[in-house]
Symmetry: C3
Subunit: 346 residues, 3 copies
């Protein structure tokens, strides 16, 4: 594909030879003359200076302030998003989707509805009354529970498990080891033992959602667990029963969200964050990595709470002080009492 | 079912129309006139005031202090546990267990023992000498290793993996993605490399245990890993080799327990806690969410240790102070030296 | 096997009856007269005093300072590594590897290459152009993507998933629920939505690597994710796209490593650590449990950063002080101003 044809399709302006043939994308460091790369982070300007890329997606601002060294620039706003579209274009050309059809080793219940163009891989199991939307791919060994509905154009990689009576929207991408709809963690104490609360709600997932490997989303206890449109979940995330995640929120790996918490739209949750149950988090909130969210967040902003790392000896010394910080405060109080004018000043 | 029949079966006292027909349970917010709901947390009193529930399970104390607005109350101690029993009653009525039999695509070794009334789903694999107890359900694509025993009345959802020679007690509920009996993490350093210690112990799980999706329990190195009766484990928990978890302990999601740690009976461990290895935790201990347990706990109580969240700028300022807390102490010490009477006072 | 034959094979010196017959290994506590045990941690000297073991592996130093009570000692440096080798010897004798052959329910693409002596279990799926090296075991329900290569002598326990075009080196041990090669978490923001960056790199894993249950390693975005020779990964670890882990590094369970981070060789990373993206960690670095690594580590050492646990009331008091540590500093500053000689002294 000629560079000028790509620019016509994806927007932006070529500065340099727009007749060059392009066959893929790559990093600045590894791109060849037939590949497109991008500069979205100024930290990588040095890599640009050494790049052999056939064209470099770049913002207007960066293009104006950089010496391209004669390299072909592809200029326009949000170069990283444009790169994403170009990369998708080539990825689609390089790998064909699996052909439609049901592998003979799959077990598809007679009452399940499988729409046109669906691929069902070896060993997949589709339960009674389940529905797989048109053009979807159900990978090898996926399990779709009875009554569960998968929207059109979805891609379930191998070994996705969805319990009965859940809903997944159109164009979902679900990775291996995902478990949707397992029972939430609900028990009532009775004496020393715990009595199970049956978990009879569903998981309802919107359109254009991606869910990473080994992430788990529990079904609701009575009402549903809800994941909004465009939500992106990384690997090994745990979402408890009756959580609601707003549209276009992204959550990084290893994060846990306890039951009945509501997260707003367009939030960004860092990896290994821990959000306790029954909270509400405002739209457009950012939570940093490894932060414990222990109360609701009403005002959007960036919230952080992890212990700063140090060399172990230094950490031990300071951790001992943290453990007895009240004693340090007492010493300051005692000093303040000795200096009474201090009280007037504070 | 008439309300009075439910009360006869499950205890408690109806205040109001006990002839009402009931067909299920629901939240205060969504319950209809034919559904039972409950009030166990005083925070939800407002929801009670707007509820259309046919009857509301409530404690004596709350019933005495609340204006029911003419609603039918079902009064008695521990309303949440009673709700659990009622909910189980209706859940059993609404969903039949899968019928007994072995799916033709399952692979059951000739030497395995499958007791009466067992259901084995598509693609399940039962190893040599394994034993599945009467009435158990082995979901699709479950793998039961050679010599492993599953107690009677257990429910293994799809895609549970149990390595060889493990034991699961009666009435277990195991969720998808659970892995029981993988090798513990044991290596001896030899030069720069690591030599594997064969993990030849087992995992032995008591009766009435529930294990959440994608939770992993490693087999012992030489002796066994042991999970007591009535233990409830949430999703994505990791339990290392040779741990012992006492009866009726509950552990919330994303928690990690390193090897050879013993946790007592009736403990409650919060989500994303991290318990290091070779520790001992007393019976009836509560560990808060995201707490690192770095030493043994001898005295029951509530233990906590996570960094408090703040807006990022505030966190950065205070984290820098934490990182150099010893300097603040030095400044306090210097002040104390300037005020010698302080020394006499402390 | 006589003890003297074991010593001849594995080195070290027998002090006591070297004709004793040995048939296995065990802990000091449970070993019988026909079993070998070991003392590597001085904490267990008391257990030695009560042990019935047929022989006890022990270092020269410990052997010199201990009263063996007439027990047979097997003396030499690094007794724990020697124990590992002896234990492997007996483990190999006690359990035969599964016999070579492809289970009839496995689905092996006609273009896949399966070398001599390979065992492929029930329900396994081997994609087009994949290659399984000689003598490897592919457990039940494993999925090997198209074009993926598994080195010789590897052991894939049941239910390992490897996406297409990845590479696993020789003698790998992969546990159930492992997912290798799922898409990294890469999206470009465009308006409120997120556009997927196709993840077209691979995962390339060296020789002698062990990966624990339900651990996930994402494929690279454009370049590869790389795991060095001899790396040992525990359960439920998440490794993001384009990470590189140096040879012989060990990582304990529940740890998350965000994308594009490079970890050096021979590092030891504690459980539930969280390492953010785009960092570099020096060779031979130790990171303690539950530590957030938020900046690169240039100098090897032991790094720690978790909040110290306390009884909840004490934690609450001190957490409130941490949250407002700047106020305590202000009070110290105010005191210093009142005592001007302090300024000269600091």
């Amino acid at each position: 594909v000629r560079l000028r044809d790509l620019a016509e399709r994806f927007g932006g302006q070529i500065r340099g030879d727009d007749t060059r043939a392009i066959d893929g994308v790559a990093t600045l460091e590894h791109a060849s003359a037939s590949e497109v790369s991008f500069l979205s982070n100024p930290r990588y300007r040095a890599a640009l200076a050494n790049s052999s890329a056939g064209a470099i997606l770049i913002s207007d601002e960066d293009a104006g302030s950089i010496d391209s060294g004669g390299r072909t620039l592809w200029v326009g706003d949000n170069p990283y998003a444009r790169f994403a579209h170009v990369a998708q274009f080539f990825a689609t050309q390089h790998s064909l989707p699996p052909s439609a059809g049901i592998h003979p080793s799959a077990v598809v219940d007679g009452s399940a509805q499988v729409d046109a163009g669906v691929h069902i891989g070896p060993g997949a199991v589709i339960g009674a009354g389940a529905h797989v939307g048109a053009g979807s791919v159900v990978g090898a060994a996926c399990i779709i529970g009875a009554g569960t509905r998968i929207g059109a154009g979805s891609l379930l990689h191998a070994r996705v498990t969805i319990y009965p009576d859940c809903v997944v929207g159109a164009r979902a991408i679900l990775h291996s080891g995902v478990v949707i709809g397992a029972d939430g963690f609900g028990f009532a104490r009775e004496g020393v033992a715990w009595v199970k609360i049956p978990q009879t709600g569903r998981v309802v997932i919107g359109a254009d959602v991606e869910i990473g490997a080994n992430t788990t989303i529990d079904r609701g206890a009575l009402d549903d667990t809800e994941i909004g449109d465009g939500v992106k979940l990384d690997n090994q995330i745990q979402i408890g029963h009756n959580c609601r995640i707003g549209a276009h929120t992204v959550i990084a790996g290893c994060t846990g969200i306890a039951g009945s918490t509501t997260i707003g739209a367009r939030c960004m949750i860092g990896g290994a964050a821990m959000i306790i149950g029954h909270l509400s988090i405002a739209d457009d909130t950012t939570v940093s990595v490894a932060t414990v969210v222990s109360h609701s967040i009403i005002k959007p902003g960036v919230y952080t709470g992890f212990y700063p790392m140090a060399e172990n000896a230094q950490w031990e010394k300071n951790a001992a002080l943290v453990r007895h910080l009240d004693r340090l405060r007492e010493r300051v109080r005692a000093l303040e009492k000795l200096l009474p004018q201090q009280k007037g000043g504070a």
